[in-house]
Symmetry: C2
Subunit: 449 residues, 2 copies
């Protein structure tokens, strides 16, 4: 997937030290595409290319490198140049990057930054991971409530290079107390009467996030109200930062992946699969495997209990995996539908009767469907047609039981105030396994005796 | 969760026909919050409230209603008023809504719309679901390349009410040929020299989407380049629309939910779980249950093959579910990690050696861990310590086999150009079940003979 189109040229320019052409390369395309064309270079070479353009552009292209490359560049190059680069990065991104460098390296770079940036970094670092504070950037368009439209545009014109976004202009009073918001669109529309005071345009009912608020809750607000950015305030409603839409997409992706992992019986990783410590990964998986193991242990007790039936009708044992997997699979399907429905907000707990009624109908259809296949197979194996009936009847009830457990258990968890994704698919399958065996051998006991 | 704070007051105002106060209610808060306070009203009442404010505001609040309420309002009220409302809605949203009304109703409303809107709706309806064309809106800030900064701002000021966003201004030449983009930020910064021609500010290297492009690919571009909106062009590079960040969040959520469903063995639903036709839902689940049933059938053949061992050592059968579920669970874990890693772009196919090496280490740890539990349990049940060893040894290899299959199968699918999520967890589990039984009974054959 690496874009190799310009690689030979770039390598040649680097070899010849052709700084002018390298500088031109850095500005010829948009920053994202420029970074893409450099994917085939080493981290070292990529930095050599970047050094041929001005620092703001350098930071812009750098922002599109992969996380690994960004860390490598910050780690391995001259501290003065790195400090200049860091000064230009968005305040939320640079905090994330600095956290990945070792302490000695950070101590080398930080003193070279202007006092204001240093303070900003330290403040952002203080917010715990996963809160609005840790996600926000401090570069936002902040305007005093006393300005007019004309003055506001002038103020923006002189500082707009520093802002990550100007689609919302936040209007503040004394001590950065948040008063309201004006959209860039409104400001531009008001240009025809440039002396209008900002206060006439202000929307005072602003949706805000608290610095300590959970990132999932922030993302829900942004999605619900279709915001481009959300202002972050402290307890006393002082504007301290904003969270922009691109960070929200990351949060949504992160949360859904965490749910998917939880549904598969893995405690959410928080780190990339390829970067997480192997012992930590084993722990996050092992703990669930252990829980599931002890759940599955009941199946062994159940089978031991039906020892007699199993020894008299040996062919019953052959179908055990088939039966429990049919129940487990229909259970996982229902659980996944209910969990994804609830996390995406389409399915509310109040709908539970509706959900269960639908599941009941679907499970009858699915149970009947799978039972037909089961009948065909059992016919071949079982000694008589009457004996063979054990398999389809069992399958029918096991699939119904799977759907019922799969749909209800996540909703019960939700009702108890727990994360429904905790009622992971393997856990549902484990419970259905036990019930499946009990159903199977009781049906067998009745029909075969 | 329904906000009931103002419900009694709203109901009273409606009963008394207090139009002035209802009108005030509609403008007192931001549109999203206003819609929230109306959640407890009937659809009929909600519309009665909305009628007390001006049409643009009405449309804004309407945009925050649930999809069900939106459809109900469009279906049940006076066509003239509904047409006026539809005229104000974003062009992408109204097309989605009209698709849910029956044809007779649409035929009643459409002729009441201005010709321009009608044509726009018909054009957007022509794009197939899931493409950039179907996702885009046609309200974007489009400026002629010959304007100056001052003229551009004036043009914007006079039309900005019609645009969904102005953070990017698209610069077009003849016949709306896309020339480039200027950000609102750049335009505002350039205000100090208002006679600068737009052409001096233009970024010509624009990332675009084709009308026919798949929505997943569009979302990937927006995420990759951190865009606020992406312009949509036709084959001849005419600008026909834009896709905004909020639609992208929806696409990301939709795709990840589809993956989660696929991973649980359900063909992606495309519709809400609560709204999808029950026979369609049963089909989308049944087809996978059938595939999984026939995979699981091999376990029955395998067990039949080892008939002798099973009848001589009856206690072996008791552990079958425990052993295959341990394998299946570790397999689902690995598959989910690899699939979510690949869909979020953190894990590339080129990393396969790295992935497999890590999985190998983790599977040894997990296998050893589960084997310890297995030893404890087997000790109690098996006739001798030597016999008991069958269980831990089997568990160790089954867990390793689960991790190996779970990690490799999705990558193999990806390599073959198929969707890795197709290699669903139940399918991986099914394969591991069969291998698990073969491992189990061969270990038993060696140790117990």
């Amino acid at each position: 997937m690496v874009n190799t189109l310009l690689l030979p040229e770039l390598r040649e320019m680097l070899a010849q030290g052709n700084d002018a052409e390298l500088g031109e390369f850095c500005t010829a395309m948009n920053a994202g595409r420029t970074a893409e064309f450099m994917e085939g270079l080493t981290d070292e070479q990529a930095w050599q290319v970047l050094r041929n353009t001005e620092v703001p552009r350098r930071a812009e292209i750098f922002g599109h490198f992969t996380h690994e490359r960004q860390v490598a560049i910050l780690r391995d190059n001259e501290p003065g140049e790195i400090a200049a680069l860091i000064e230009e990065l968005a305040s939320d991104d640079r905090v994330d990057l600095l956290q990945e460098l070792d302490k000695a390296r950070v101590a080398e770079i930080l003193p070279l930054l202007p006092w204001k940036d240093r303070r900003d970094i330290q403040r952002l670092q203080a917010y715990p991971e996963g809160t609005a504070g840790a996600l926000m950037t401090t570069e936002m368009a902040k305007l005093d409530e006393t300005l007019s439209v004309r003055q506001a545009l002038d103020a923006l014109a002189s500082q707009s290079e520093y802002f990550e976004t100007i689609y919302y202009l936040f209007i503040v009073g004394e001590n950065d107390q948040l008063r309201g918001v004006v959209s860039a669109r409104q400001l531009v529309s008001a240009l025809r009467s440039p002396n209008t005071p900002l206060q006439d345009l202000i929307e005072t009912d602003v949706v805000t996030a608290l610095t300590t608020e959970d990132q999932e809750s922030v993302a829900a607000k942004v999605e619900r109200y279709n915001l481009l950015a959300i202002p972050v305030v402290d307890e006393a409603r002082h504007l301290v930062g904003i969270i922009t839409h691109d960070d929200i997409i990351d949060v949504v992706r992160e949360e859904l992946n965490a749910d998917a992992q939880q549904m598969a019986g893995i405690s959410p990783l928080d780190t990339d699969f390829l970067r997480i410590n192997l012992f930590l990964l084993s722990w996050k998986r092992g703990i669930w495997l252990a829980i599931l193991f002890f759940t599955a242990l009941f199946t062994a007790f159940a089978l031991k209990y039906y020892e007699d039936e199993l020894s008299r009708f040996a062919w019953l044992a052959w179908f055990i995996p088939l039966i429990i997997s049919s129940g487990g699979n229909s259970g996982s399907q229902s659980a996944t539908l209910v969990i994804t429905g609830m996390t995406s907000g389409n399915l509310k707990l109040a709908n539970w009767r509706h959900v269960m009624a639908r599941e009941w109908l679907v499970s009858m259809l699915l149970g009947g469907f799978v039972a037909c296949f089961g009948m065909l197979v059992a016919w071949v194996v079982a000694p008589s047609a009457r004996d063979a009936l054990v398999i389809p009847i069992t399958l029918f009830f096991v699939v119904m039981c799977g759907c019922f457990c799969g749909a209800s258990l996540p909703m019960i968890f939700k009702r108890l105030g727990l994360d429904p994704a905790l009622m992971s698919n393997p856990f549902v399958a484990g419970i259905v396994d036990i019930l499946g065996i009990v159903i199977y051998l009781n049906v067998a006991r009745i029909l075969l005796s």
